[in-house]
Amino acid sequence: MRRQLTIYSLALMLMIALPGTLSSQITSSPYSIFGMGILEGNASGLSRAMGGTNIAFLTDRAINYGNPASYDGLDSLLTIFEVGIFSKYSVFQTSKEKQSLLNANFRYMAMAFRVSPWFSTSFGFTPYSSVGYNINTKAFLEGTNIEYLKSYIGKGGVNRFYVGGAFSFIKKLSLGVNASYLFGDITHIEASKAYEFSLSDITYLSNFTLNYGLNYQVDVKDWKFNIGLIYSDGKKLRTRNTTIIETKYETEILKSRKYRYSIPTTMGGGLSVRRNYFKAGIDYEWSSWEEADMSSAYYFHTRNSNRISAGFEFPSQGIRKGSVSMVMYRFGGEYRESYMVIKGVPIDYRAVSMGIGIPLKGVVSVVNTTLEFGQNGSIKRDLFRENFVTLSIDLSLRDLWFRKRQYL
């Protein structure tokens, strides 16, 4: 009991402290210079190993905040707490050269439990998008042939704190909603160490948004078929901007510039099938980025984004199957037409993923380890392709906390 309390208070502390310190400095890709940066998607730990497929999955062994209706899948006795970190190694390749980066960071944190037979809830903190780049260029002292090093640095992103609930008044049908608060800041810096100046452009963004979800289950003998639907409204984000110019001798806050950021209308649907411990699913998601109002470079524009993914999981066979030491294997793939079109070149993303869920001794908990191999972008028109490997480690702590309290 004491040990569980410690775990939960630790988890709660993490949830309060982490968002401030880590506030979504995740991506390290020059592509994140555009718009709101790289979108982090809606897939939590376990579903990342299945290509991010999650729309029709219920929250049973892991929290699925991608579809708020999924919380209805929670066992009435379980409380789930999840935290995820990742490390990404990327090789950036242009038509001429290759450079690589490694970065690691926090991915998400969430908690879910059932409140009553018809209502379950979840809340958590996840990044929505992230900006992270550090590009060095040579610039000329105008009117001379003297070169100096100029750095372009981007950091920040948009975070999301959500509280959601799933309602089920009719058997096999659940409806859910996530109320999210999006907040964050995006900073673009142009600086030179040698000449000791920097121009920092900081935009603070925030707004509330609602995501709706539906899940309906059809049982055919042992097989459980689920259909999932999600929808969220497009919205402009509230922005506040400051631009600061700093030299060795002076600091001046310049007149604020107008920056527009918005999130798109998104809708998606998914299908899944389950039997015993086997599960498979497929997703399609569409977002209306084309009409999203965003200021950006002249050679950049947005298009409507599409995402399809598919994945499945199965348990280890033999004696472990169904036991507390059962290991889960997962595979998946994902293809995304991102919202970015740069110099007329659409930026597409493809990845395959695999994962393994290993139960931890003692606590009813699992470590999900996921490896993703993927590719993003194109080397056309002096752009670059990003080949990456991501290792995610997601810890899922499940506890029979409520029952114990009731009966002890």
Partner: protein, 447 residues
């Protein structure tokens, strides 16, 4: 089962660590990452402007403090640039309790001992003539209380006191300024004998400082009316410039003795420097309120220690920079290149110092970040000899001037030696208004 599970996990963790290290090792350093350069739309531009007009002039500061510099300049030197310069050096002797001289002691001789320094100007290959005159009045430093508001006293390159027109002694010698153990002996036998007997007889005149100074008064080292080709600097510390009285006592063997009388207070030792600019481009400087614009002197401006010549720079067009927003000065440099070949004969000062000047050429030191007098070292371009220059970082000064959105066109920068060296060294600098010019270089950021 458990055992193998543990082993497996251990191996996996090890593998991850190894993989992590390999990946970190193969990464591009953050400050070397360049991919994505094509996305950048610079909002800042860094520019250099060095086309500001710089109006040069030579100014003459009336009096330069030359006391307490511990150097005695004697001689004269003439060239067509700085004219005829003549230096005389005044000093007196230190009173001491001279002690007992035995009755049997027999006076031999006496001489002032002049030790060389390396601080000379002109041609030291020719014979030099140096005389010593006895003063007819005491050296009295001028109280600076009215000027500096403190109790200090000083003497200037223009100060003078009366002395006997006839020298006590004259010596003509070939200078050996680099000879370590050589010194110039100026024999003053008659005066020495007089002093010797006064000390031996414990005369009232050598019984106290007041009496002694009133009796001795002081001495002047001059080169008389002789035309020399150099001005020599002799060491003039209390222990360095001395009068030696030689005597002996006849015992079984002759015992040789000497009495050393040190130079008096360094505050009463100074150099009077006369300079005749009449045959130089600066001939009219005194008639023109001690300032001559470079355009009247062949686009040149002149600086020289001891004589009070400084180079003044004015920036009449900086005010034009005020127009428009969206820029910041990152750095301001004043680049001073000496006129080519002007420093073959006279080495340039190692460092040059900068002062700000007002309309009346009142000077105050510019200071650097450590509150030290702002200076620039001479950079010698060994290879091409084309970028020999002093570069001052005058960012603070420029920003300060720009801060009220008005650059006073009467505000100037004045180049000279360090304030303590101005009255101690003859070092000189000639700059040209054109090739290579004195430049104000502004690095500014526009955004």
């Amino acid at each position: 089962m458990k055992g193998t599970g543990k082993g497996k996990k251990g191996r996996q963790i090890l593998l991850l660590i190894v993989l992590g290290i390999v990946l970190i090792g193969s990464c591009t350093k953050t400050n070397e990452f360049t991919i994505g350069t094509g996305f950048m739309m610079p909002e800042t531009r860094l520019e250099i402007v060095d086309t500001f007009r710089v109006d040069l002039s030579t100014i003459l500061v009336d009096s330069i403090i030359t006391s307490s510099k511990q150097i005695a300049y004697v001689g004269n030197y003439e060239d067509t640039i700085f004219g005829l310069i003549t230096s005389r050096s005044f000093f007196d002797l230190k009173y001491d309790i001279f002690g007992e001289i035995e009755e049997k002691a027999i006076y031999d001789s006496a001489a002032f001992i002049l030790n060389y320094t390396s601080k000379n100007i002109g041609d030291t290959l020719y014979p030099m003539s140096v005389s010593v005159h006895r003063m007819t009045e005491q050296i009295v430093p001028i109280n600076l209380e009215r000027i500096l508001y403190n109790a200090s006293t000083a003497l200037f390159n223009t100060s003078s006191f009366n002395y006997e027109p006839e020298p006590m002694s004259t010596v003509v010698f070939l200078p050996e300024p680099n000879g370590r153990d050589t010194a110039v002996y100026l024999n003053v036998n008659a005066f020495g004998e007089e002093l010797f007997s006064l000390i031996r007889s414990k005369d009232e005149r050598v019984s106290s400082e007041d009496f002694f100074r009133n009796y001795v008064k002081g001495f002047v080292l001059t080169s008389g009316s002789v035309v020399n080709n150099a001005i020599l600097g002799f060491a003039a510390g209390t222990e360095k410039l001395v009068l030696k009285i030689f005597y002996h006592i006849n015992r079984e063997e002759q015992e040789k003795k000497e009495l050393v009388i040190k130079m008096g207070d360094i505050g009463r030792q100074f150099n009077k420097v006369d300079f005749d600019l009449s045959r130089t481009p600066l001939a009219d400087i005194r008639e023109n309120r001690n300032e001559v614009p470079a355009k009247l002197t062949g686009n040149k401006a002149f600086m020289q220690g001891m004589t009070g010549l400084y180079v003044k720079c004015k920036f009449p067009t900086v005010q034009n920079l005020m127009a428009g927003d969206g820029w910041k000065v990152l750095k301001a440099e004043l680049v001073v290149e000496p006129e080519k070949f002007s420093y073959e004969k006279f080495p340039l000062p190692d460092s040059l110092y900068i002062y700000s000047g007002d309309k009346k050429n009142n000077m105050s030191m510019l200071r650097d970040g450590n509150n030290q007098h702002l200076k620039a070292l001479f950079e010698f371009d060994d290879y091409l000899h084309e970028n020999n220059r002093y570069t001052f970082d005058i960012t603070d000064f420029i920003l300060n001037e720009l801060s009220d959105s008005y650059f006073d066109p009467n505000q100037s920068l004045i180049l000279g030696l360090a304030s303590t060296k101005q009255g101690a060294r003859f070092q000189r600098l000639i700059v040209e208004g054109r090739r290579p010019p004195v430049k104000l270089k502004l690095y500014y950021l526009s955004y």
